[in-house]
Symmetry: C2
Subunit: 401 residues, 2 copies
Amino acid sequence: MQVLNSSVYYLLNLKFTKEDVDYLRSTGLFEEDFLKYLKNFRFTGNLYAVDEGEVIFPDEPIVQVEAPLIEAQVIETFLINTLQHPILVATKAMRCYSVAGGTVLVDFGLRRSHGTDAGMKAARASYIGGFAGTSNVLAGKEYGIPVFGTMAHSFILAHKDEIEAFIDFATVYPENAVLLVDTYDTVEGVHNAVKAMKMVGFKHFKGIRLDSGDLLSLSKISREILDREGFKDAIIVASGGINEYKIKELLDSGAPIDGWGVGTELVVSADLPYLDCAYKLVEYDGRPVMKFSTKKKTLPYKKQIYRIYEEGLIRKDVITRYDEKIDGGKPLLNKYIENGRLIKELPSLKDIREKAITSFNSLPENMKDINRAVHLYPEISKTIEKTVKELEKKHLKEKKR
Amino acid sequence: MQVLNSSVYYLLNLKFTKEDVDYLRSTGLFEEDFLKYLKNFRFTGNLYAVDEGEVIFPDEPIVQVEAPLIEAQVIETFLINTLQHPILVATKAMRCYSVAGGTVLVDFGLRRSHGTDAGMKAARASYIGGFAGTSNVLAGKEYGIPVFGTMAHSFILAHKDEIEAFIDFATVYPENAVLLVDTYDTVEGVHNAVKAMKMVGFKHFKGIRLDSGDLLSLSKISREILDREGFKDAIIVASGGINEYKIKELLDSGAPIDGWGVGTELVVSADLPYLDCAYKLVEYDGRPVMKFSTKKKTLPYKKQIYRIYEEGLIRKDVITRYDEKIDGGKPLLNKYIENGRLIKELPSLKDIREKAITSFNSLPENMKDINRAVHLYPEISKTIEKTVKELEKKHLKEKKR
């Protein structure tokens, strides 16, 4: 799932301050000409990218930079840095969304993300990946993502007992109180929640949150208690070590859970905490180039990706030279920046989220299964294949000399 | 391995801008009293923490906050966020350092870290964990960490051939040229490096970097070629998927590698990308409190950790009430902030790195082995144990009512 915005922002705004240049000079590593160049640096090239929210596959050129070599090199590290983590989080989020069957997903991960920047980007990326919102209030402010919160264990521990804590909390948040019931004993906690709500005379309250223990049995018992006591519309939220596998397993087993707080494993992309994405020179001074290192081969040429649909589903992607055309294929790489200027309007976050869901839905069924690692392998156009062969031949010849 | 600085900085500087408060008001979730409170918010409490660079163990209270409940809650998420990732990276770095046998370790991870903040903190944390420096120039600037760099594949691809690229690079950096030899064919690349250096008349050059392939055989062949051709002092640097296990395996097998670029797995702490550290209320209004949730029990009381050494090695840690004393034990929790003000000088990064290495060296041998998950289990003082039993008894009694 493509996530892009920081890269665009970076390319449009990158510059080196006097202080930066002074530091670089102090290292003694750089020539004065280069330092002078950096002082006036701005990105003057072009950026082609797959739209945010679009489904992407391994080995696809999802971002393409066309610029003087020095500019293309200066931006390399940040560009890679800024793409990978949000792509991982959006993908993990969409995996959760795909099995959540309409239940609500909320990002609870800020505390476990790798620093604050990652926490912010994880909130944005998970929203793109189908989440309903985040507990990260700053992300709410910066990106306009809906904000969700529930009570903390310390709030309860600071009270004489649970009932008193629930009463205090629900009085302040009569509409939004999701009561955390596992501080001492979960089943007892649900009973206490019910008692507290009756004591303050509430006919309805938002719900409860289970944060530990056997979520299947506890959610069933909780539902039973809530229903029996007349709180049929109180929701049950689960949190604590949630991932797409647990969501699927619990819902498949009939756990009456209405919402999920997904934290740690989402924001650090725990089962795949890094993406091996590469940024390589593919064309220089009009000639195609490639790298031959073992297992790290790259394809030459400035490229386009054509996506071909059949009955609304993605049938194949073809990677071509940029100037090739594939009939009926939808070109995925769009020009965002031209000569250093933004030339394409960036869609709203809501629209990106819509696009992500639509794009996910256009995947063939077998690629949607979270338990199967099936993905599409993009085809390579004949023109590119031919050049690869020629370059390999030329390379072998040079080696023999 | 404790890493702390961002937490201290945060507590000393946290405030809410007018813009922040206006946003919070716009959500409709908060009462005006609370918003007014936030406008004038500053942290007025105390911070106790284990020093940066000190070895720490699971279940130890490495940071302790003493403050009005509302302040302690406001800072919770950021405090957890800012502690975990650097602790993981410093630990992973020290694991690499412990098997590197004097070879040089450099952080190459910025491009793979989860955002820029993580990239900066990973550079700092890995330096604390025994690394010699980083390729992250901004971290060099901000933290004064030594900066290392080598050439990129794209530099080579932009040249007619490798020899031309090596000549260009070495001419600009005669002292520091570490030539990347794997763009086309590694052994050929080493030969080309030698040819290039001879063509420009260099008697010495810094060295070469292997970034792919079988590093054991390639480093041996490279060493042989370099020695035979009269470049005995040229170093061999290895990069690409390096971690502590590969370093140990390669050095144990006799790979003549002098330096390592460690990236991805270091900065995302790949085998343990998150730390389950908890921030819990332990004492309130003079009374000890604890959480009883399944598997998430916490210990009551404001605490101290006493470390007991024997013949220079850590023998045990004892967690006590803060007002207890353990004869001959070194108290690990130091007061950094009092009434919102810094009262302890923060050591230089170099001193922290020294402390980390000394602290690591004071571990018993079996805890230094990267292939064994042996760690110290802190003892709990009798006073705390007694209170736990009392609170559990009281809790059970309340449940029965």
